[in-house]
Every structure is written in C-alpha cells, then in structure tokens.
Amino acid sequence: MLATLNATLRASGGALVTLGRDTATRLAAQAAPVGAALVFSWAAFYGSVVACSEIVMTAPWLVIPCLALGAVIGLACVVYALRCLLARDLDDAPADSNGGAAAGPQGFVAVLGATLLPFMGLYAFFGTVSQYARMTALAAEARYGLGASATMFEAFNPVHSVTVALLAAGLVAVLYCLSDLLDWLGDRVQRPWPGLVGAFVSALYALIVLLAGSRLLGEKAKLFFAGRHMADWWYGARDFVRGLWPFHLPGWLAGAWDYLSGAVWPVFWDLLMQPLMWLALAALVTGRKFGKVEDLLERRLHPPGDAVAKAAKKVRGEITGRFTGTLNSKVLPMWHSFKALRRVGWPLVGAYVIGFNALGWAGDGLWWVAFRLGSGRAGDFWYGVVPFLDLVPQVLVRACQLALAVTALVLAHRVSGFVPWSEPEAAAADSEPAAEAEPGSEAEAAPRRRGQALVVGALVVAFSLARLAWPLSSEVVHRGAPGEPVTLGDAQVAVTDVRLGSALLNEAGESVTTDRRFLVVHVAVTSFAGGFYLEPALVWGDRTYTPIDGLQTVAATAGFRVSRDVVFEVAPDDPGEPVLRLAQKGQVIGVVQDVVAVPLAVPAATAVVGWQEKALEEVP
C-alpha cells in the first residue's frame, strides 16, 4: 500500500509537471488571441451588466434578454479561446474512413452553433449565470441607490404577484419547449443557427428560473403545500419513521456528519466537477459528439439487428429522450471526458483536478491581496475597482485553466487514443471498457488502479480540506485586543471596559434586569475622513448576538470621536471566549467586508453593571 502511495504521489507530481510545462507552452503560443478573446468575454459580461443596470428600474423584464445576450457573447468568446488553444491539434486531426475531414475540424461558426447550447447548459448548471444577476443587482445599487436591487428582484417575485407567477411559469414552459425544439432542429438541419438561437433561449430559461422560477418552486410551492392537510400527513409520517429509530447519534458523530455533508462535501464536489466541466467543454469545442443516454441504453438492451427492437426503438427513444435531456447535455460530456483522463491513469486525473483548482485558488489569492491593500475603503471605491480586479480571474486565471483543460484532453488523446473529434459511434465505442495504458497483466493492474484511485481521491479530499482551512474569503479580519486601538482606513476603533452582570444601570438611574447575563463593552470610533459606520455583533460559541437596544451602528462623522456602551444579553453557559465583531458598513456586499474582531476576556459577573446608554461625541 505504501508503495502504491509513493508511486501514485510521484506519478501525480510527474503528471502535474508535464501538464504545467505543456500548458505554459500551449498558452504562450496562443497568448494574444486567447487573452483578447477572454477580455472580450469579460467586456461582454460587464457591458451587459452596465446596460441592464440602466434599464432595470424602467423595464426590469428586459434585463433577462439583455443578460442572456451578454452570456451568449461571453461564451462565444470562450469557445473561440478554446478553439485557438486547440488550433494546432485540430489541424493534425485524423481523417475519417472516407478520406474526408473528421467531425472535429469544422468552421468556427459551425462549432459555435453545435457547442453553445450544451455549453450554456453546463455553464448554468454550475451557477455561472447567477453571477450575471448578482453583479446586475450590485450595479443597480450603485446606479440608483440602496434598495434598487430589491426593486429589481421584486419585479420577478412570483410570490407577491399572480401575474408574475403566471408569466414566469408560462415563459419557463415555452422556453423549455423552444429549447427542445431548437435542439431537435439542430440535429436535423445541420446548420449553426439553431444552436446559436438555442444558446440564447437556454440563457433566457436559466435566468428566468434563477430569478423567478426558483422562488416559484422554493417559496410559492412550499407555502401552498404548508397550507394543505397533506402537509400534516407528511410530517406525521416523517415523525413516525423517526420514532422507529432506536437510538440517537452521539453529538460528536452528528457534528462530524454535519461538517462533512455541509462543509466538506460541497467544496469537494465543486473541486471535482468544475475541472471536469471545463474538460467537457474543451472536448465539445473539438466538435466531438457524445451520443445520448437512450442510445447507450438501447445498445445494451437490444443488440443491432433485432427487428422488433428497431421498431420499438423510435418510440422508446422519444419517451426516454424527454427525461434524459440533462444527462445528455451535461452529465454525459463530463463523464466521457473524465473517462478519457482515467484511461491515461488516475495520477493524471489527480494532477489535472488539483492543478486546475490550484490556479483558481491563486486567482482568489490575488483578490485576497487586493482586499488587504484596499482595506477600510468604502463601497464607492470597491464598486469602481471590481471589474478591473475581475480581469484576474476572468482573463488570467481562466486562460491558464482553459489551456490546462485542453492540454489534459490532448494528452489523453495522445496517450490513450481517446479521440476528441469523433462521431457518436466512436463515442459509443468509448463507453466500452478500454484497455488501460499501463504495463502488466490485467490481474496486476486492477488492484493497482484501485489503490491509485484511493490515493488520488484522498489527495482531492486533502485539497478540499486545505481550501476549507484557508477559505480566502472576501472578509478582511483585523484582530484587536481590549484597550489597543485598531486602525481601519481613515478611522480608528478602540474596545475597552468589558463587564458582565445580571442588571444594567444607565446614566438616569434606570435599571434593567435579566435571568441571563448582560455583557457590556465600551466601543469608541474616531473618523478622520467621512462618515464611518460599524455594525456590532458578539460571537460566543455557536451563538451570534446582536445588541439588545436594536443598535444597528456605532458611527462617527469626520473629525469626531463617538463612544458608547454596546450591550448583549447572553446565555450564561456559552463556552470559550466571546469575540466582538465590528463590521464596517457601506462596503460592497459580497465583494469585501472589513471586520474588527476583538476577543474579550470576560470578568467575573457582578450583580449590577453601569451602562452608558447615550453616545458621547467629542473632538479628539
């Protein structure tokens, strides 16, 4: 086992070096067109966002086609970038049995027409389309002021309006059928336009589902269900089944399960699926067709030549085709691409997955550095620089990731004979067990492959845990200590005088009591330029407390120092050390958040503690 571990680690390292070297060479050769294409993709993204932020208040429903157009143009640019990265390999593509060009090397428009629809499906599947909606909301806030994004989302809210609900449901149904029709038409007419229009329709569909459909199902359907007798039956049955369970899981086991399922699994899934998605997209750009699930099933169930099966095939194909659309357009390309890599060996799978994610992590790292360099800045500053910072992940990192995916695909082609540019028949042949490109007999190779798979799986899990441990989040935490001022941009924050008691006594001699505990802490904020606002919260164990008096902010205007007591009502049994978190308000939501975090040493509780209820303003 140790030998397998050692060999797999060395092989993965070797594969990573090979991939890295080949990726760098490939990217260097095509840096200009790939860079330009990705810059245009970036421009399409932000261009459509700016255009949508202009019309969002007057014609909110026009936002959907506007964003969809941006997404399609952006994707077309990515397809072009992939095409450039594959250019030399496509020139070397094998000729088919008739002596003509194989399916792969087609014209760009033809490839675009054939790939954009599944491309958009995969793109939407991984939530990329939602970035358009999120950034439009942000742009609307900057353009029209706070609350503008709420107006935008309210326009698509089917819960509050029957008209919107009916419109959203109708559009989802129509666009779904239209997308299906265009898919069918694309197969029949062999022209690029059904694919191009289909991608646009697919983007419309994804955006409507995202903005209105998800709420229709997530909220309206739930509310409808909750109001029916059927809900009682369901909850009753669920409680009955739970009652049959003879014991409760120990707390640590339940906690571990929650952590694994709630934190580790999503990261692991994302780490594994994102590289496979891009690999599948690269394979699609070669012109490769992956066949259909129903064809594969048909081949398994009924061998060729069965006359009765042929007659029934068409009918079954139509029926199963209704349910396998997602599998055909999203899962099958990823599965085949994954299999192509696996044929070369698990070390290449591991090297590719980890290399791809390491690049993404490096991109996040650049954001992380930028957040720290611009720490303490207000929302206007961050809003202004967001698109330019986004050039790093959308152009630099994306270019490296695309080149890596193409390199891995070509490597799979060279080593294992995987043919990216092939017809469905060849794709069907791919689904058959393939001979591994490994030395030794099958009996020796099988356990080795299992061992390698385990080691590579463990490597990806370790990488997931590392990402969880260093999340490189947009939150910039400034650690402080009681009595030590923390500088945040053009302001200074000081936390002093921590008290714990069962009753509060304010300046007017009025008292408030509790059967829990009051934790009182004195916060002083000095602003040297502009208004500065902090939102206090107390994190103690698993609980997060907000101030008892509904105090939303501790704020100071330019040239003033404002101080006051912030009071939290806390449970007496919270474990460990509480941390006072003071979050800077007015920054760009979801982009950057500066937080002053001060661990508080809690003194012994007294019966009554003083409470400076009114804020004290002074000139420092």
Partner: protein, 182 residues
C-alpha cells in the same frame, strides 16, 4: 508557415483590441456608476437649477448655539472643540420636491445635517424644502472648529416628487453650491 511580421501584427492587433475593450467597458462602468446623480454646480452666490427648482446658497455662518427643539429647553451647543455652521439656502420651483438632503462640503469629506435642529423662526426660514415650492431654508452642521477653513460650500441631493416612488423612477440631482464661511 506564418511569417513573423504577420504574427507580430496580429499579436499587436489583439493586444490593442483587448486594451480598447478594457478601456471602453471600464469607462462605461465608471461613467454610469457616477450617473446616479445629475450634477450641477454654482459659483459662490450664484444659483443652480435642479429638478425644476432653483437653489442658491445665501451664506454660511458660525454659531456657538442654536435654538432648541422645544422652546422651554436650553439652546443647543456643540461639543467641546466643535462649532455649528449654519447654511442659509433659498429655493424656488413650481412644485414641491420629493426630498432634499443637505451636506456641508469640506476638502474631500463632508458632514450631514445636525440631527436636532428645528429651524430658526426668527429668521423666517423653513425647516425643510418639502414645506412648499419656495422658501428660504436654514440648516445646521456640527464640525470640528479646526476644519472651518476647509469648508467649500453645500451639496444638496434632491429629486422631483413622484406619485409612486417604488416603480416610477426619477433621476436624482446633486447640486454643489460653492461658498465659504464668513
């Protein structure tokens, strides 16, 4: 084999096109994000029109105390080291505005209105520009005494009244009225 000069020209073309795309979208992004307000500026003593209303800064003066909210209270005084700056703004227009907020402009920073000011009845001034389509308004800012020299005027943000503020969008205005204390 592609000639080297063609590769260079093509590379340069791609680089230029990418640069233009970044500059174009970047400019669009920056310009539109600043388009939340329609900006107008008035020189000291001059008037500026916004949302169908004319604004003019009549003057800025210092005050060590201002009238209280209730007559029976003591006059309001600034905190130690600070001073009140009273701005007197005349406005007139055909219709009442949707809102108007005032800020005292300094050197790269500004101060919002003092929260507890009632308005000076003696001066015949109104409390808010929402009280009618025309009038003279006095508003008060509390600033550190050390920054009085940097005060450069008043900024008014306003918009015309709309029947339904939720869906009937009207552009906001940003009126810069220049002036110094004295």
């Amino acid at each position: 084999m592609t000639p080297l000069w063609l590769i260079r020209v093509r590379t340069l073309g791609f680089a230029l096109a990418a640069l233009l795309a970044v500059a174009g979208v970047g400019w669009l992004w920056t310009a539109r994000s600043h388009a939340r307000y329609i900006e107008v500026t008035a020189a000291p003593g001059a008037a500026a029109e916004a949302a169908g209303t004319t604004f003019r800064l009549e003057g800025l003066r210092l005050a060590d105390a201002i009238a209280p909210v209730y007559e029976w209270d003591d006059p309001l005084t600034p905190v130690a080291g600070a001073v009140f700056v009273v701005a007197r703004v005349a406005y007139s227009g055909p219709a009442t505005l949707g809102y108007c907020d005032f800020y005292l402009a300094g050197d790269g920073r500004e101060w919002a209105e003092f929260a507890y000011y009632r308005g000076s009845a003696e001066a015949g001034a109104v409390q808010s520009c929402l009280e009618g389509p025309a009038g003279t308004l006095e508003t008060v800012f509390e600033v550190p005494r050390a920054v009085v020299g940097e005060i450069a005027g008043v900024r008014v943000t306003t918009m015309p009244s709309t029947l339904d503020g939720g869906s009937d969008y009207a552009p906001e205005w940003d009126v810069h009225l220049a002036g110094t204390v004295g």
